[in-house]
């Protein structure tokens, strides 16, 4: 079962960062435990996610970009300017920390106004700018609240506003959704995606949650043990993981599309029936284990999602077989070895893939 080779950096997925614009960095940081050595390039407007297990060096990379950790070697250029020797207060870099670090003694408004004030704005002017940002975040009525009075989601938005208020040329987000409970995370993820989409400069976010990475980022950079192990668009990485970690991580088929009621028309073409009633841009996801394969078009199945596919590849995945399918819809399916054998699957074999609507998960993008 041959694997398709994957280029380390996919030209189609990584728009070139020219010398004059965007981020161009080679971050080398020597730690006792390991050595971080990654190259990052991003164009303005791009959102890059650093994805990897704990201890992989993602946070170190982020701190190096912010100027909070010194570079042992390498370079760091942002919009053409060499920032390697610049202290963090002089870098046009904004940081959203994992636990937000909102100043407890200042109101939300003053927190957001802090950056502009440090950069020279007067008190009233800074507050006016801050009020605007909070309004954009939908938090106008919480402007006078101290951080301890804010909910997790509200605090997160204040933290983002605070970082954006300084008009940074590089926005760094360290596990931006990790501190939130599952329910809030959904909402906040969607909002964050909107803000990042509107953000004109480079954004780099660090996460260990693949869903965050896939939803928020244009490009994923997977880091393990201080090195980049895979780079590319979320869908490519999801379909062709190069390490066990990524494979385990992306145990999902994920698609973007337009929803009309219970039907989602995917960008790729086919339609997916979901249990959620939505409209507008959405994501649809289902795990490979939810896919049932048939050699013949099934008649008795209750699954409303049925696609005609062709087996592209097979590989061992834990104690199951992962079947990669192309055709009407590209997806991955997990089968037991027995089932795979019974179906007589081989590359090129035509199959029908069915997924129950109940096992899909659609949500607003």
């Amino acid at each position: 079962m041959p694997k398709k080779p994957e280029h380390l950096s996919d030209p189609a997925g990584a728009p070139a960062a020219t010398a004059a614009q965007g981020l161009d960095a080679r971050l080398v940081v020597d730690r006792e435990a390991f050595r971080l050595d990654i190259a990052l390039r991003a164009a303005p407007g791009e959102v890059v996610a650093l994805l990897g297990p704990n201890g992989a060096g993602k946070t170190t990379a982020l701190r190096a970009l912010a100027g909070l950790a010194p570079l042992t070697a390498g370079h760091l250029r942002l919009d053409g300017a060499d920032l390697r020797r610049t202290p963090p207060e002089s870098r046009p870099v904004g940081v959203v920390f994992q636990d937000y670090l909102l100043f407890p003694h200042l109101t939300a408004l003053d927190n957001v106004a802090f950056g502009p004030r440090c950069r020279g704005a007067g008190k009233a002017e800074a507050r006016a700018q801050a009020a605007e940002w909070l309004d954009r975040m939908g938090l106008a009525e919480h402007a006078g609240a101290k951080p301890r009075r804010l909910s997790g989601g509200q605090a997160q938005r204040v933290a983002v506003a605070r970082a954006l208020a300084t008009h940074p040329r590089l926005l760094l987000l360290d596990e931006p959704l990790a501190a939130l409970d599952a329910r809030t995370r959904l909402e906040v993820r969607a909002q964050l995606r909107r803000h990042l989409a509107a953000f004109e400069a480079v954004a780099v976010l660090v996460t260990h949650d693949p869903l965050d990475a896939m939803v928020l980022a244009d490009r994923l950079v997977v880091v393990e043990g201080g090195r980049i192990v895979q780079e590319g668009s979320p869908s490519e990485i999801a379909r062709h993981p190069r390490t066990e970690y990524i494979a385990q991580l992306v145990g999902l088929n994920l698609y973007r599309g337009q929803a009309e009621g219970h039907t989602v028309r995917l960008a790729a073409g086919p339609a997916v029936s979901t249990t959620e009633d939505l409209s507008g841009p959405v994501f649809v996801a289902f795990p490979p284990g939810a896919v049932t394969l048939y050699r013949e078009r099934p008649t008795g199945t209750s699954a409303r999602n049925l696609w005609h596919c062709e087996v592209a590849g097979l590989e061992s995945h834990g104690d199951q077989i992962r079947v990669e399918l192309t055709g009407e819809l590209a997806l991955a399916a997990d089968l037991t070895t027995v089932a795979a054998a019974e179906l007589d699957l081989h590359p090129g074999a035509p199959v029908w893939a069915a997924v129950k609507a109940a096992q899909t998960h659609a949500y607003p993008a």
């Binding site: 909070l68 963090p88 003694h105 440090c118």
Partner: protein, 279 residues
């Protein structure tokens, strides 16, 4: 949820303590009560034995108010001076690394264990007219420190500052340094980050240290009398006045003691909220 924060917000976080005896083991309660009694009985004795009838006469004496005014002025000035130099010193000890830091910390706390009179003698040898530094002060600026109110302030600062430094250093260590990091990413220089983020965060620790320092300065006797001498209105603070009065006019001494006690209680009670919040 709108509107500015009410200043009484701190009270929300202050929970009432449980009534004693409920769930408190006897083995802890008895020594605790003994300790409390030990502290309270002398104060009660002072109140019980006070010459209440003679008190008005004693209290109208100008010497009493002179000594009190001087004591309050010197203690407050000494505390202010301690804050101005003590907070940066605490920051240096808590946030920077330099060779010999442990030794410096030990030296800073030395006045705590030094008998005050020894401190007074040391101050004389350093800042007296013939002192190591004092002789240059005298030669170049014509400034002599012993026998002056400034001398009292310096003696009190010497014994009180360590309290402030230790309290603030402890608070700084407990405070999250990442707030300062966050401030720098927003464009604050290290000093601006200290001024606008760290200081407000450690303010309770500074306040607690200042209260301790003030109380210590107010009660200082040995270093004051050795270094600054004793002159009414200029260097005769309340403790000195009480000591000297005790020799020949115990009633006056008790009156002075009561005044000092009342002032101290008033100040500590007034700062009680802040005190409690740090605890």
């Amino acid at each position: 949820m709108t509107g500015p924060q009410a200043p009484a917000a701190g009270r929300e976080t202050y929970r009432k303590p449980r009534a004693p005896g409920r769930g408190v083991p006897l083995a802890l309660l008895v020594p605790a009560l003994l300790g409390l009694a030990f502290l309270l009985v002398p104060l009660l004795a002072l109140l019980l034995r006070a010459p209440w009838r003679d008190l008005p006469g004693q209290l109208t004496s100008p010497a009493v108010w002179e000594a009190l005014r001087l004591s309050l002025f010197c203690a407050t000035t000494a505390t202010a001076l301690s804050m101005v130099v003590g907070v940066p010193l605490a920051w240096l000890l808590a946030r920077t690394e330099f060779p010999g830091r442990g030794l410096v910390r030990a030296l800073v706390t030395l006045p705590l264990v030094l008998p005050p009179v020894v401190g007074g003698v040391a101050l004389l040898l350093a800042l007296g007219r013939n002192g190591v530094v004092g002789q240059w002060l005298d030669a170049w600026f014509g400034v002599t420190l012993p026998f002056t109110t400034t001398g009292v302030v310096l003696a009190e600062t010497f014994v009180a500052m360590p309290f402030l430094v230790i309290s603030v250093e402890g608070t700084l260590r407990a405070a999250d340094p990442r707030y300062e990091e966050a401030a720098t990413t927003l464009g604050a220089s290290r000093f601006t980050a200290f001024r606008r983020v760290t200081l407000p965060l450690i303010a309770p620790g500074i306040a607690a240290g200042a209260v301790l320092a003030w109380a210590r300065a107010l009660g200082e006797f040995g270093a004051t009398i050795t270094f600054a001498g004793n002159f009414p209105g200029r260097t005769q603070t309340m403790p000195l006045a009480v000591y000297l009065a005790l020799q020949n006019d115990p009633a006056a001494a008790i009156a002075l003691s009561l005044v000092l006690l009342a002032v101290s209680i008033a100040v500590l009670a007034g700062l009680r909220d802040r005190w409690m919040r740090t605890a």
